[in-house]
């Protein structure tokens, strides 16, 4: 792409975006099937409208691709950023038609929250939502977890030039195979395999805890999709507290922890490299940070006297910390209980857990265990350099599927993303404080939004100020795409409006 974008550049970007919209239209089939099975005919019409809008706009945009197109790095990046915005606008249609939202902005908030696997919601009267719309909420979370663009890459874009840029723009840079198309398909295969196992496990557990068979099936399907995608949406307003079951909570933990691990790690383990689980920098980093942060939260809960006995404290504390650290966002307490009962120390521990997040190249959000682990290794390397004689040579490496050299360039790249995450968290916190919320509550919600987590302390509600809704939408979008695509879009806009 040239310094000043030409018509061809716009057309290439819009064309890619159109393919993603077509993909979203196809995804509408899932809630449509549920609407037919459940006889929710008026909801079916809403989804036909949504599918029609997606397919029509997608076809029109996709046809814009110039005959002699030369897609490049920036096209892919900008197209990814724009695709997520278009997907948000289109996916909000069934929400708006349902009458369960206060405004179209609220619908878009929920759509973006779903795609980014955040799980915060502004829905009104969730307990009376149709089965089809609940399916839609969870399907878009599932699709968003694997990647909206990964979906399009897998089925609609034939691995052509620019596809790697689209893939990377979505915050994934691990390739399981040399071909990005094969990698995208492998991601879907891994997710599909876990889907069967996870849904059956949750279905059976659901029946065992007293849910009727049909309800257990739907809850199993929805909860699996939200868990694997580290999403956090649940079909009932009480979120996971609805089930009142330690068994159901434990099964969900298995799948959202699995979802928070790198797809490359899954691939390695599934293809026989089981030792990778204990050697991988991300699993080590995740385990260590979880133990430290859970200890901090537990100490905070004990100091605040939040729970009457150790069992209750362990169960509630463990679930909220693991849910926050994997950026899932399932909650077994009410949002206000964080503010009213947990105490400042526990909340600070939760903020750090949410900010660190899960693994790179997974469905999780946050700074990511890889970056935190690598930065700590870099600190260790620099410490050794200070202690050893100047002529001493030592290996600067980390293990991530294979041993990798941890050079200054790599450390710099990790540090930049980390600084951007922290900066965005500060910005979101300030926005919350400016809207009139107490600082710690604003910081908690900001960490949840920045890390695409979904735990709420009660700030996110339909009544919150419009400007804060917009800020949160932008933050969860930027956090999910890990800034690169957003910076590319910003650069593209600047170069477009700048005079030649």
């Amino acid at each position: 792409m040239r310094n000043h974008p030409r018509k061809e550049d716009y057309l290439i970007i819009l064309s890619y975006t159109g393919r993603v919209a077509i993909g979203l239209g196809i995804v509408c089939v899932a809630p449509m099937l549920v609407a037919i099975v459940e006889g929710e005919w008026s909801v079916l019409v809403d989804f036909v409208i949504c599918a029609g809008a997606c397919l029509l706009s997608g076809a029109v945009l996709a046809m814009l691709m110039p005959t002699e197109a030369h897609p490049g790095w920036l096209h892919g990046m900008v197209a990814t950023a724009v695709s997520w915005l278009l997907a948000m606008v289109l996916a909000a249609i069934p929400y708006a038609l349902s009458g369960h939202y206060g405004s179209y902005l609220d619908c878009m908030f929920d759509a973006m929250s779903g795609f980014t696997t955040t799980g915060l919601t502004l829905v009104l009267d969730l307990d009376h939502l149709s089965m089809a719309l609940n399916t839609w909420r969870h399907v878009i979370t599932f699709v968003g977890g694997q990647g909206v663009v990964v979906l399009a890459l897998s089925f609609l874009i034939d691995g052509s030039a620019g596809s790697y840029e689209l893939y990377v723009g979505e915050g994934k840079d691990e390739r399981l195979f040399p071909s990005v198309l094969h990698t995208a398909k492998a991601i879907w295969k891994i997710s599909a395999a876990y889907f069967v196992v996870g849904m059956v496990a949750l279905w059976v557990t659901g029946v065992a805890i007293g849910l009727p068979v049909k309800a257990a099936f739907y809850h199993g399907m929805w909860i699996y999709m939200a868990a694997w995608s580290t999403g956090g949406f649940a079909p009932m307003s009480q979120n996971f507290l609805y089930y009142h079951s330690a068994a159901y909570e434990m099964v969900s933990v298995v799948f959202f922890v699995a979802g928070s691990l790198n797809f490359a790690l899954h691939h390695a383990v599934l293809t026989g490299s089981r030792r990778e689980m204990i050697k991988n920098i991300e699993t080590i980093s995740f385990f260590a940070s979880f133990v430290i942060l859970f200890s901090i939260v537990a100490a905070g809960l004990m100091r605040a006297g939040a729970y009457p006995d150790l069992v209750a404290m362990m169960r509630k504390g463990f679930y909220q910390v693991i849910s926050g650290h994997t950026t899932t966002g399932f909650m077994t307490i009410s949002a206000r209980q964080f503010a009213l009962e947990w105490g400042d120390l526990a909340l600070c521990g939760m903020c750090v857990a949410m900010m660190i997040g899960g693994s790179a190249g997974s469905t999780a959000g946050g700074i990511k265990g890889l970056r935190v682990g690598a930065l700590l290794l870099a600190v260790r390397h620099d410490g050794r350099r200070l202690l050893l004689p100047p002529s001493a040579v030592f290996k600067k490496k980390m293990h991530m599927i294979e041993d990798r050299y941890l050079g200054d360039e790599q450390v710099r790249a990790y540090a930049i993303i980390t600084v951007l995450y922290v900066g965005m968290w500060v910005f979101a916190t300030l926005a919350g404080v400016a809207a009139g919320y107490p600082a710690l509550e604003a910081a908690f919600e900001a960490a949840s939004v920045t890390g695409n987590v979904g735990l709420s302390i009660g700030v996110t509600a339909p009544a919150m100020p419009i400007f804060l809704k917009i800020v949160y939408i932008l933050v969860i979008w930027a956090g999910r795409l890990e800034f690169m695509a957003i910076l590319a879009l910003g650069g593209f806009i600047v170069s477009a409006v700048r005079r030649r």
Binding site: V45, T67, H128, Q238, Y242, D309, L340
Partner: protein, 196 residues
């Protein structure tokens, strides 16, 4: 000292209960009267905000039974929602079976008035905030909710579907032509360059 604290808690409970009951009474003006049940209804939000004060005390809540009844042996969980939120109620399975309709997309659930012990963090249930019911009364039976078709939406859906089908056919034919051109170019050694 303990007696004083208990008195203060009881007074707080009375004041909050009375204050909330005024609102609940006004809201529930059209609700059929449940004769033998106390009127002091506490909203979920008041329980949540004053959880430490209410902990271990008797409370009466009124709201819609939602979702599903989850039987656990001789007992069952029923989640009850009022306008400010939902809370789990632990009741006997027999009482739970008397609930004929639970709130969902197609139904408005039975409205229950429940009196029981409120637990901020129930020891028996792993720290859940819940109510262990002593009396359960159905104050209004649930009903099915109709969701009528909108003709305007049906027309919009039909038109959009037709337009989308047309658009996709055009795109398919355009993609076919592009592929033919590309393969022609590749054969003649004029493959397109990649982006800058």
């Amino acid at each position: 000292m303990c007696g004083r604290r208990a008195c203060a808690l009881a007074a707080a409970f009375q004041i909050m209960g009375l204050a909330v009951s005024v609102g609940a009474w006004a809201d529930g003006a059209s609700v059929q009267a449940a004769p033998t049940v106390p009127v002091q209804v506490v909203q979920y939000e008041a329980l949540l905000e004053g959880a430490r004060a209410f902990d271990g005390l008797k409370a009466t809540i009124q709201g819609e039974a939602i979702g599903q009844v989850m039987e656990r042996g001789t007992m069952a969980w029923v989640n009850v929602a009022d306008q400010s939120g939902a809370i789990g109620v632990w009741m006997s399975a027999e009482e739970a079976r008397s609930i004929s309709m639970l709130g969902s997309y197609s139904c408005r659930g039975d409205e229950l008035r429940i009196t029981g012990t409120f637990h901020r963090a129930c020891v028996e249930h792993g720290g859940d905030m819940d109510i262990h019911a002593e009396t359960v009364a159905i104050v209004r039976a649930g009903e099915r909710v109709a969701h009528p078709f909108s003709v305007a939406r049906q027309v919009a859906a039909a038109l959009l579907s037709l337009a989308a089908a047309g658009g996709l056919l055009l795109l398919r034919s355009r993609d076919g032509k592009r592929r033919a051109l590309e393969s022609k170019g590749a054969k003649s050694g004029k493959g397109g360059g990649h982006g800058c």
